[in-house]
Amino acid sequence: MGKRIIISLTLALFLYISLPFVMDFTPADKLAPLSEQYARDGVREVGAQNLVTAVIVTYRGLDTLGEIAVLFIATAGIGFILSRGNTTKGQKRESSRILQTGVRVLLPLILMFGVYIFINGHLTPGGGFQGGVVIATGILVFLLVHPRGKIHSLILQVLESISGFGYVFLGLLGIFLAGGFLDNSILPLGQAGQLFSAGAIPIIYSLIGLKVGSELVNIIKYLKQ
């Protein structure tokens, strides 16, 4: 009985804290000063049309590096804990003809769509994270239809390591050739709106997309066996 009282008190306390926030919340009617500066100078300085991409890759590039590190540590932890278990028993029945033919048609289309999303990250909504997750979903469909199929683990390791190393290498190149770490003017900025514009943003975002995609495929592979 005492536990129930404490739980009710905790929930009531949280409700009491959040109520003034919701009641007195007046929605803003103009942008915050920092966002106003990004909106005014973003396209001219960075060359990307998508402001969210410009902030993630250049203005706040170091935070993206930290996030990739967190994803890597989580994947390594999952692989470490699951490495000593035995493989799951359970029937591995082959799927029907319709599913197999459907995957054979859909898998190249899904992979191409994922690559399209992260190559056009600076022009349309999208970017590295979304494209990487779409690629991982495509390979997940393949693993669901062919339950005995294997993905070569050496290819995944090489892809992930080269993407991570390439990302840090491009960042260091920014120190020597341009303004600072992860500056994207090491390649010419070009004209905003074209595919080959915004300096090194397509290359950086493609590397991020490949790294996130291969890490998520790794997580699924560890959980499946």
Partner: protein
């Protein structure tokens, strides 16, 4: 949009209640995932300005006056990072649950009482 902020807080409260009262370990992890979703909704709803459009500056938006026509882009950046990290932490928690089940064959959290004083 006060309704969306209130919805976010309600989801957080439902998640905390679920984590405190449920005994099944998988329900506790589901509650954690609900808390994450609620906090992301709160963060995105703070950056919304009524009547404006998405933060992408192409021919549809006047470039010289863009600060008057777009929504705040900074909460989107924070939430983008937070969603991916939330997935990684949820996967790690589920792997711990799997390992604990293999040790004692029970999903009830009352059976794991070795750390209680």
């Amino acid at each position: 949009m006060q309704l969306v902020t209130a919805l976010g807080f309600i989801l957080v409260i439902i998640g905390i209640w679920g984590m405190l009262t449920r005994k099944n370990m998988i329900k506790i992890v589901i509650g954690f995932s609900l808390i994450d979703t609620g906090i992301h909704i709160i963060m995105v709803s703070i950056g919304y300005i009524k009547g404006r459009t998405a933060p992408i500056i192409n021919e549809a938006v006047d470039r010289t006056n863009a600060a008057m026509e777009i929504v705040d882009p900074i909460p989107s950046v924070l939430v983008l990072t937070a969603i991916v990290i939330g997935l990684a932490v949820t996967a790690l928690m589920l792997v711990y649950v799997t390992r604990l089940y293999k040790h004692k064959n029970s999903l009830n959290i009352d059976d794991y009482g070795e750390l209680k004083w």
